[in-house]
Amino acid sequence: MDTISVGPPRAGVGGDLADPRFWAAGAISTTIVMLIVLAFLTVDSLSVITAGGRNVPAYDVINRHIGYEFNWARHRDVPVIGGLEPLFGQTVTEAEAAALMEKGKLVIQSRACMDCHTFFGNGAYYAPDLTKSWLDPAWENIWMPMTGKATREAAMVEFLMHPDQYPTWNRRMPNLHLTEEEARATVAYLKWVSSVDTNGFPANFRTTKPDHAKQP
């Protein structure tokens, strides 16, 4: 051991580049500056992503129509909140919507959805991204006919309760034993998630029946 510094390293006077203490001081001050900047950005970001914030709609957005369209001014796809379109035909209050979200999120965590799927591209990659699942043309094109349900949300509930019975390809979703209440909360959750402004992720997502995509 040829140098032992006792006490916290202090900056070398005049900044001698070969002096370890100069770099120790640099490391500490850089870190502190970055942490302060991060703290400010975090305060601002949290206000934007809290439900009701600029990018993340309040939970009762599930009473409305949600679209996803290309915005020329921002040059990316953005969610478009439209007129009334209550989920399951029932308008919910803010408190009811919040309770649904809490339930829906608990379903998602307790069944480990994100260990096969992704939300906003985060999770596992064995199954499709769920960010815009509510808007996926597959509900209309595949699952409504398959389940014989008249609405998208009814088809979603049916699928979520018995995914093993409605396979679309060789990877099947296992039955995770959702009750009807849990399935409905999950559908509400997916609808809300699709309304979050994600800076254009996923890009080029087509919400209407894509004519170029092959039917299975």
Binding site: S45, T50, N55, K105, Q109, S110, P174, V193, T198
Partner: protein
């Protein structure tokens, strides 16, 4: 030998065992991609994957604890304070891991209640372990932090490396508190979750492995402390200077404001710099000492750590860290390619070096240089590079066809998953995964076998071999 070094041997044993479990579940997870109906509703992909990535976090953590328990008394020339408590918590740690593994395998999921979060599964990637177990991990880390700090105080001396280590313990523990919340707001949930995942792997662990690397270099090559510590400070400055705001590369698409596209893109693009610095450092030291070393396997692994940390984390990360590319590469096998390469390069290679340091010290040979270690070294590296190349091919295919052209719908996802480019990448991953597993077997065999005793002076034999 210090008593805490015996504890670290125990930690190494547990870590290596879990490394094996991890590889087993990695191979199993890879098999679902080619045989999707395998074990359907018996053991689904999700469960297998949880076991794969949670054991990853735990075994690396155990190896880090082991490495610190190994080097701390040597640095401070003082036995670790509170060693009994540390020995007891080791068994607590093992018991917690075993119980959680059994619950994951047998119970797997629960219903949508707080009970599930407390006792079965939290369903948050990397930290799925139920809350009671996460509390167990906090206790273990708390005892560990106490050991380190108390030893420094009692020994009444500090080295530069120990200073960095002690300060790093604060964020290491603090961000782990992120393993508990269940926020109903997915955007906010992910916002904090990334503090844990990114700040661990790209900041606090990176600093920790920097300390460990510094100590290994002094140990196996006799590099001067002044040089090693100067480099360590520079690395810490750059790692944290770029990495803290580099966090922004995970805030492009989760609902967070647009300014993260520029901030995250800019700072994370700087993250490879310190990693390049480590390569320069390692090459410089190796040249300075003309590759003379008392421990060839440790020396090779630590040099490989420097290179593959730069390539796997730095280059592979840089490839997709700009938002223009990340928009399409995000959440594909491309991410998986980087995840594997980075974890392997940055951490696995480093801790294997530490295992070899321990092997040499326990067997008492003056110079460790058997032939056999090269098998583990070669097979593990070839296996990993083959895997990440296959995954890169699969990921680029997904980014092009599934995301850019297909637009990330269910149909786009299923179609690209049947694309021949994708499938060949996935098969390559599986086959090279088997090579990797063979490398693991060779590594374990080599670590356990008795080295040839070597009477020749260290410098001579290593010098002759180059």
């Amino acid at each position: 030998m210090y008593r805490s070094q015996r504890l670290s041997l125990r930690y190494y044993t547990a870590a290596i065992t879990l490394f094996g479990v991890m590889i087993l579940f990695g191979l199993l997870s890879a098999l679902y991609y080619v045989f999707p109906s395998m074990l359907f509703e018996v053991l689904n992909f999700s469960t297998s994957k949880i076991l794969h990535i949670d054991t990853l976090v735990i075994w690396l953590l155990m190896a880090f604890l082991g490495a610190v328990y190994w080097y701390l008394p040597q640095e401070l020339e003082h036995e670790v304070v509170g060693i009994r408590l540390a020995e007891a918590t080791f068994w607590v740690f093992c018991a917690v891991v075993a119980v959680v593994a059994v619950v994951f395998l047998v119970v797997q999921i629960g219903d949508s209640t707080a009970f599930t979060l407390w006792f079965i599964n939290q369903g948050r990637k990397y930290v799925e372990a139920p809350r009671w177990a996460s509390i167990g991990v906090v206790v273990v880390m708390g005892v560990f932090a106490y050991n380190v700090v108390a030893t420094c105080v009692k020994a009444r001396r500090m080295t530069g490396v120990t200073w960095v280590l002690v300060l790093d313990l604060i964020p290491l523990l603090a961000v782990y508190m992120d393993a508990f919340p269940a926020d109903e707001n997915m955007s906010r949930d992910l916002y904090w979750w990334w503090w844990l995942v990114h700040m661990w792997v790209e900041s606090t662990w990176e600093v920790l492995i920097g300390c460990i690397m510094a100590m290994v270099l002094m140990d196996v090559m006799g590099t001067s402390r002044r040089i090693v510590e100067t480099w360590l400070y520079i690395e810490v400055m750059l790692v944290l200077g770029a990495g803290i705001l580099g966090l922004g590369h995970h805030y492009f698409w989760i609902g967070t404001p647009e300014y993260w596209l520029s901030i995250g893109g800019f700072f994370s693009a700087l993250e490879p710099l310190p990693l390049l610095g480590m390569v320069v450092h390692a090459v410089y030291d190796a040249g300075e000492h003309r590759l003379r070393t008392v421990n060839r396997p440790a020396f090779f692994w630590i040099t490989t750590e420097a290179f593959l940390n730069f390539i796997g984390a730095g280059v592979w990360g840089f490839m997709m860290t700009l938002p223009q590319i990340n928009l399409f590469s995000h959440g594909t096998q491309w991410t998986v390619s980087h995840g594997h390469f980075a974890f392997y390069g940055a951490y696995v290679c480093g801790v294997i070096a530490v295992f070899y340091v321990a092997k040499q010290k326990t067997s008492g040979v003056a110079c460790l240089d058997d032939r056999f270690w090269k098998w583990g070294y070669g097979l593990l590296n070839i296996g990993m590079v083959g895997m990440v190349m296959g995954l890169l091919l699969a990921g680029i295919t997904q980014a092009f066809y599934g995301r850019a052209i297909g637009g990330s719908t269910l149909m786009a996802f299923t179609q690209v998953s049947e694309n021949p480019w994708f499938l060949s990448g996935i098969w390559a991953r599986l086959l090279f995964g088997i090579v990797f597993a063979a490398g693991y077997v060779a590594l374990v065999y080599d670590l356990l076998r008795k080295p040839r005793s070597n009477a020749v002076g260290a410098g001579e034999i290593a010098g002759a071999a180059t």
